[in-house]
């Protein structure tokens, strides 16, 4: 320890560490004295946006938190927990790793996967499925190709070795993400409800262990770094990116699962952002106790580490475990079996103070509650103002958009667009089948279906967000994201249970960005109440933007919705592909002449400015309730909702996954381009056996949801309005390889 080299304690040092002047004053007030450098570092990390949610918490608190299936409320534990019956719960969460991935895509994405899985198994839940939601810039750019390849390899190498299948996800390209990609990782795990491990420290005298990897200098100030603008100088921050070791994580998982079967654990928390200071303060505050921690006892990976570095290091694959006194040896034995470190570094004490020692010298003395969210961490009400672009979108007039001369050629182009074409290049690099629970491999579904072996149930999971819709109207666009997630689960045969979210936005100090954020949270709240899907947790990532010489361009507001649903009976599972020639094709939902914010409008006509497509939460809810009934009556052979690329792409995806074609007739009263390529929400294409037609119509008449007969399934030919559009196989290469061709060119 060489305190002579520590900077002086003043507002300017505090600023260097990312703290505002008012925050520095507040720290002095809370401590009743001036902090030393180590203490100031602790506040800097814990009061960063990433750990404290200081600019978002007032709005997040408005989200619905309770539901019939909830086992813990949002924010109480490392992840949300839903009751799935038979004595089991499902822990799930989504988290961003955007800023590290922008600088070092491979490690940034890999450690994102590692971190989200630790959040799950630290609760005693064994992860069973991963999903991810990715946003990149224009795929033709060399930088984008580099980012895509690095991020996908990072996610793959970590998840594949860790041994949890990646069962679903989404990838979206837009130039607003050219500098700042988004990498959101989702994990779900299963836990016996009587074996849930809590993130709290209690019981005076109970020993505190650090387990897993050694601690190094990697990722120091990562949490503060994730809360800064990305600029051209950000590459200088590379030491703030952590390095992942999936093998260590796998050992840590297995050891933790063995430990969870014992009665020795009092509490456990993963060490992610802000390392030891975060886990010690959050567990102490949650358990209303304090801790005495000896930083010199932490196993280190490198020499010459200062105590403040050990306190803040974000080295991966580590956990803090509080154990019942007297069981130290049994716990050590479990970790020994898996050849991983398990060192006692301190003990639980009365009160709420954290005492950190360095070779018996007290070097930091902090009240735990002053560091954490819900305690002393600052809470800000930020100013917001409707974005200037918003009113311009309303000037859009569909009549000014010419109908394409060659509809077939336009349709081919749409099928090859990066946001429409197959993401095979990406998902084939993930092990989607390890664990032998992925029911969607051979029977593709809108939401991924994960088998609960030995039961008649399954889980449905999805991640969704069309960021264009959110940009065009943050509140309605976010309602639509929640609706799409719920719709994907419903059409796959599930019942939506709960939501986790990853809110990716620009700089919260920009009132127009904050307006997007507030709108998104409001929309999410309304939609989640409608679908009775409480928001169990997630994370907020601000400062996602491109800094140019003359201005700052935020990314599209991207509130990614991760949703879990329960399939109560596996026979309800409904898949995407057409089933047999002659089946009737129905479009369920209301069709409008609406091409707003469609891939067609943006990429074929080059028009970015149009309002959000027309949307009604009531209409969406009625559609989903209707489909739940009709699916349970066994009257629907296949179902796929309409999203990017419109009805045309939905039909083609049903065709390409089955090898069958379709023969449909378009209505005369709606423009053909709008009918085929419009992205109006709340619509689903289903197929029905001819023999079931009457029963289907009877079922559909119940709730007054619109439905129209489009045509029928063919052996392979595609016909629209009695015109020959070729064979389904004529489109396969275009759909399956267009994106791969761009990324490898």
């Amino acid at each position: 320890m060489n305190t002579a080299l520590y900077p002086p304690i003043n507002a300017s040092t505090a600023k260097e560490l990312g703290l505002l002047e008012e925050e520095f004053e507040k720290i002095k007030e809370l401590l009743g004295r001036e902090p030393n450098f180590t203490e100031l570092c602790a506040y800097s990390a814990m009061w960063s946006e990433h750990c404290s949610y200081k600019n978002s918490i007032v709005w997040l608190k408005t989200l619905p938190k309770d539901g019939p299936h909830m086992l813990v409320k949002a924010g109480e534990e490392n992840a949300g927990l839903v009751d799935i019956g038979d004595g089991y719960g499902c822990a799930f969460k989504i988290e961003s790793h955007n800023h590290p991935s922008a600088l070092e895509p491979y490690q940034g994405a890999a450690t994102g996967v590692g971190g989200i899985n630790r959040d799950i198994f630290t609760m005693g839940a064994r992860p069973i499925a991963l999903l991810n939601s990715l946003r990149f810039g224009e795929p033709e750019l060399e930088r984008t190709k580099w980012l895509v390849k690095g991020v996908v390899k990072g996610i793959g190498d970590y998840g594949n070795a860790f041994g949890i299948p990646t069962v679903g996800g989404e990838t979206y390209f837009d130039k607003c993400y050219n500098q700042n990609p988004l990498v959101n990782a989702f994990s779900a795990g299963i836990v016996k409800t009587d074996r849930i491990i809590r993130a709290k420290a209690e019981g005076v005298g109970n020993p505190v262990f650090i387990v897993g990897a050694s601690t190094g200098k990697d990722g120091i100030h990562g949490a503060s770094f994730a809360s800064k603008d990305l600029t051209e100088d950000s590459a200088d921050d590379i030491p703030a990116v952590q390095v992942g070791d999936p093998f260590m994580e796998k050992l840590l998982l297995e050891a933790t699962m063995e430990l969870a079967e014992t009665d020795y654990v009092v509490g456990m928390q993963d060490m992610g952002a802000a390392g030891i200071i975060c886990s010690t303060s959050e567990m102490s505050a949650a358990g209303k106790h304090g801790m005495r921690i000896h930083l010199d006892r932490v196993p280190l990976r490198q020499k010459n580490m200062e105590p403040w570095e050990i306190l803040l290091s974000e080295s991966q694959e580590r956990m803090l475990v509080v154990v019942k006194k007297g069981h130290e040896d049994q716990v050590k034995k479990i970790y020994d079996k898996w050849d991983i470190h398990c060192e006692q570094i301190g003990e639980v004490i009365e009160g709420d103070r954290l005492y950190f020692y360095w070779h018996d010298e007290l070097i930091a003395d902090l009240p735990a509650s002053t560091l954490v969210l819900g305690g002393g961490a600052p809470v800000y009400y930020r100013e917001f103002r409707q974005a200037a672009y918003y009113s311009e979108l309303l000037d859009f007039d569909i009549n000014a958009v010419p109908e394409p001369k060659d509809l077939k050629e336009t349709a081919r182009k749409i099928l090859s667009l990066p946001n429409v074409a197959s993401k095979k290049f990406i998902y084939e690099q993930y092990d989607s089948m390890v664990g032998t629970v992925n029911m969607s491999t051979n029977r593709p579904t809108d939401a991924a279906i994960v088998n609960l072996k030995g039961t008649n149930k399954a889980l449905a999971m999805t991640v969704d967000c069309n960021p264009r819709f959110v940009w065009a109207d943050p509140e309605i666009g976010t309602m639509m994201a929640v609706s799409e997630a719920a719709r994907n689960i419903v059409v796959s045969g599930g019942i939506p249970s709960a939501v986790t979210n990853c809110l990716n936005f620009g700089n919260p100090y920009n009132p127009e960005v904050y307006w997007q954020f507030v709108g998104a949270v409001k929309g999410m709240g309304k939609a989640c109440e409608t679908f009775k899907t409480p928001v169990t947790g997630g994370n907020v990532s601000f400062y996602n933007q491109t800094v140019l010489k003359d201005r700052v361009e935020p990314v599209f507001p991207t509130p990614t919705i991760g949703m879990i649903g329960i399939v109560e009976d596996k026979k309800h599972i409904t898949t995407i592909p057409f089933k047999q020639k002659g089946d009737l094709i129905y479009l369920v939902g209301t069709v409008r002449e609406d091409i707003n914010q469609s891939q067609y409008l943006v990429h074929i006509h080059g028009i970015e400015k149009s309002p959000v497509p027309q949307f009604s939460l009531e209409e969406e809810y009625a559609l989903q309730e209707q489909l739940k009934i009709t699916i349970r009556q066994g009257l629907i052979c296949s179902a796929h909702d309409i999203s990017e690329g419109g009805l045309w792409v939905t039909l083609m995806e049903k065709a390409l996954t089955s090898g069958l074609g379709f023969d449909i007739t378009l209505p005369a009263e709606i423009r053909k381009d709008a009918y085929l390529f419009g992205e109006g929400p709340s619509r689903v294409v289903v197929t029905v056996k001819q023999d079931d037609e009457t029963a289907f119509i009877d079922s559909m008449m119940l709730n007054g949801v619109d439905f129209d007969l489009l045509g029928h399934v063919t052996k392979g030919s595609i016909r629209i309005d009695d015109e020959d559009w070729g064979h389904v196989e004529d489109y396969r290469n275009l759909y399956e390889n267009s994106l791969t061709d761009i990324l490898l060119s």
Binding site: N160, F247, K250, D339, E428, Q429, T436, M439, K453
Partner: protein, 232 residues
Amino acid sequence: MKFGVVVFPGSNCDEDMVYVLKNILGQQVVKLWHKDHNLQGVDMIVLPGGFSYGDYLRSGAIAKFSPIMNEVTEFAKKGGYVLGVCNGFQILCEAQLLPGTLIHNTSHRFICKNQFIVADNNVSPINASIPLDRVLNIPIAHGEGCYYADVETIKEIEDNAQVLFRYCNPEGHITEDANPNGSVNNIAGVTNIHRNVFGMMPHPERAADEELGNTDGRLIFESLLNHMMANV
């Protein structure tokens, strides 16, 4: 039959293998911890897929030094049946219980997908009862699955019918387009000269559960079981 599934640190298909052997095929199964030396009287040893020891250095290169590999080698040399799938195949090659080696896919990308394979012959227990015109859909998931051996070795194993399976297209044709990883002559699995040690990159245990909509992998296990039962 009693199966022993070896668990190395980093194995991640061990549970899947146990589930299929026990719950689906109704066999007796024990897990063999890599630090153990006791094979518990098993009739067959299975080295499952995964990333043993993180696959650091080279796939399977460290696992071959695991304590239990002494017993596995001895068991194999006495004629005991050993099956290695994916990482298990890599380990068996590293331990020189099988000819050849597995190198990086020619794409240099990990690949996971359904893949068609076809039995090359019917002379080994693992492919004996699989019709040669029956195309099997068996998932692959690997970064280092390109089977490689020198020209003499390839000639030798092909002449001795030691090739178990080859990658093919849906029609069963062994074409370059159907080769997912660049393996020499589309080789997906091989056996040793005595036909008691089997290695394959595709995962039959991922295609054995009706709930997942593909049971082609059962034909491979059933071929093995038929042979073993007949020789009890």
